[in-house]
């Protein structure tokens, strides 16, 4: 039976972020968290494969222990079990660290045929964890997939990648990893029974000492500030004369002729 791991990240809901007008600091006191929307597509794709081919699906995440409410959330979306790789130091990790942690947890202990990741996470959107994890596990990968087919008797997948110049369909032998685009599927809204059923599914806790190594970042953040757009904010009325003045301003700016 096909064994699928679906990776997800518990992220800050960017709609709750406030920016201090003076210092441009990010204010994160009242933020709520969610499963990164791109990962919802990944989980849904794993469930789609389960429905078609009878696969076993496990969700995997790297997070601080305080993030444990992510588990019932992800389990309500279909996976049979979840791996909660957690440690208080697992906050603001860089993609190379996240991938190293997941690889360390998987190595030798967790069997898999296919790993599915979202194309990126909605907070950092580095789009690195998928390909870097594949490298660390020594498996091939396909990124930006918007259509996936599992060829059962040949133990391979055919993935259609939506790239800048068109669709590239690739064939990959398993075990492999893919990252998926939002247009690959429409994630379900879990039903009430699916939410209630989440509590009954097993969760395996994997802690830092079990991994037996430390994970150092290569990048160092030296600043995070709210993005500004220095714009003039000049408002005009909707009457013809006012619009005429606006047009004069545009002519003066040299953007129309």
């Amino acid at each position: 039976m096909l064994k699928i791991l679906t990776c997800f990240k518990w992220v800050v809901d960017e709609a709750d972020i406030r920016i201090d007008a003076g210092s441009r600091r990010l204010i994160l006191d009242r933020v709520s968290y969610k499963i990164s929307p791109y990962d919802r597509n990944g989980v849904e794709e794993a469930m789609h494969l389960q429905e078609l081919h009878g696969a076993a699906v496990a969700a995997v995440t790297v997070a601080p222990p305080t993030a444990k409410s992510c588990l019932k959330d992800v389990l309500s979306r279909g996976p049979d079990k979840a791996y909660f790789i957690n440690d208080p130091s697992f906050t603001d990790l860089e993609p190379s660290q996240t991938s190293a942690v997941i690889a360390a947890a998987i190595h030798g202990d967790i069997e898999f045929d296919l790993i599915i990741c979202g194309e990126g996470s909605s907070d950092l959107y580095t789009q690195q964890v998928g390909p870097v994890l594949a490298e660390k596990l020594g498996i091939p990968c396909a990124t930006y997939v918007n259509k996936l087919t599992y060829i059962e008797n040949e133990n391979r997948i055919v993935a259609e990648r939506k790239l800048d110049d068109g669709i590239e369909a690739v064939s990959i032998p398993l075990p492999a990893l893919i990252t998926v685009l939002p247009d690959i599927n429409t994630p379900r809204i879990p039903s009430l029974k699916q939410v209630l059923g989440a509590a009954k599914k097993p969760v395996e806790n994997i802690t830092l000492d079990k991994l037996g190594q430390s994970f150092h970042p290569c990048l160092q953040t030296i600043g995070v500030l709210g993005a500004t757009m220095e714009r003039r904010h000049l408002m005009f009325g909707a009457q013809p004369e006012e619009i005429g003045s606006l047009i004069s301003a545009l002519l003066k700016d040299g953007v129309i002729a």
Binding site: V12, E14, I17, I19, E94, P95, S96, Y125, T126, Q127, Q128, V132, E135, P140, Y144, V158, R161, K162, L163, D164, D165, G166, I167, E168, A169, V170, S171, I172, P173, D183, P217, C218, L219, Q220, T221, I222, G223, V224, G226, A227, M229, R231, R232, H233, L234, M235, F236, G237, A238, I243, G244, L246, I247, S248, L250, L251, D253, V255, I256, A257
Partner: protein, 318 residues
Amino acid sequence: MAGILVFAETREHTLELLNAGVNLARDLGTKLVAFALGNEFAPEYISHGADEVLVLQPLAQDQPLESYVPVLAQVVREEDPDVFLVGATQRGKEIGARLASQLNTGLCSGCIGFELDKEKNLLQMERLLFCGLAVQKVICTTRPQMAAVAPRVFDRAPLVEGREGKVREISAMPFSPVTVVSRTPRAREAVDITEAKIIVCVGRGFEKKEDVKLARDLADVLGGEVGCSRPIAEELRWLPEDVYMGISGKKVKPDLYIGVGVSGQIQHVTGIRDSKVIFAINRDESAPIFEAADYGIVGDLYQVVPILIEELKKALNK
């Protein structure tokens, strides 16, 4: 210091990265090296700033571009460059990430700009967070320092007549267990929205598909093109995917962007933030687009746009 390396999927993108690398190379006192996907590109890369061009072996029909990863990694280990810039197309992003992993170094994805800290010889790289809400500055403590830079973040390098440089062939063969089964080129629209100097953007304020004509009329008077926000293309399908602007769509840098009935969510604004002038029309005073605009009119687009077209015709003598 053993050089600034540059790799991109297309010739145009390589020329842009050469521009990004030229000052860096000068400040670090090192050479600027570009990878080329064929001999034919070498002279142009040299005349646009490359001191050296490394020509890669051609790919077999069924090999994806990412087959170059082991080859690039080997070159980096031999050359030990200080900086490696990768062109962030979809393929480029995968290549950059996998390369960084193989080299045990960090990659600044979606790099929108960088500055050299000359004292420490460290690149301070900038990228966006939270769908464009914030800007993050990072440095890389390992080598090479890597950044993935999207197309059109930099202008192409200027042509310098009579420049000389070395051309070297890389003999290592590209390899990947992934095979390409088929390629279906994107039906190119006649219009490339990223080239347009004036863009009229259709937002959710438009009530039906037929009304997009109003945006076209406005664009025609100005000699501009019509684009849209993501929902108009992806959900309503009133316009092709090619012309939607935003964090997951096109990034544009026109002289003038006019958002008509566009609310201005951060995901969209991220795609248009480099426009020279932003002008917004929306009937909701509190629409976020006005925060991002130079000029704004609060009003019903169905009333404002026809008047705007009339007044423009008069002002531009059309």
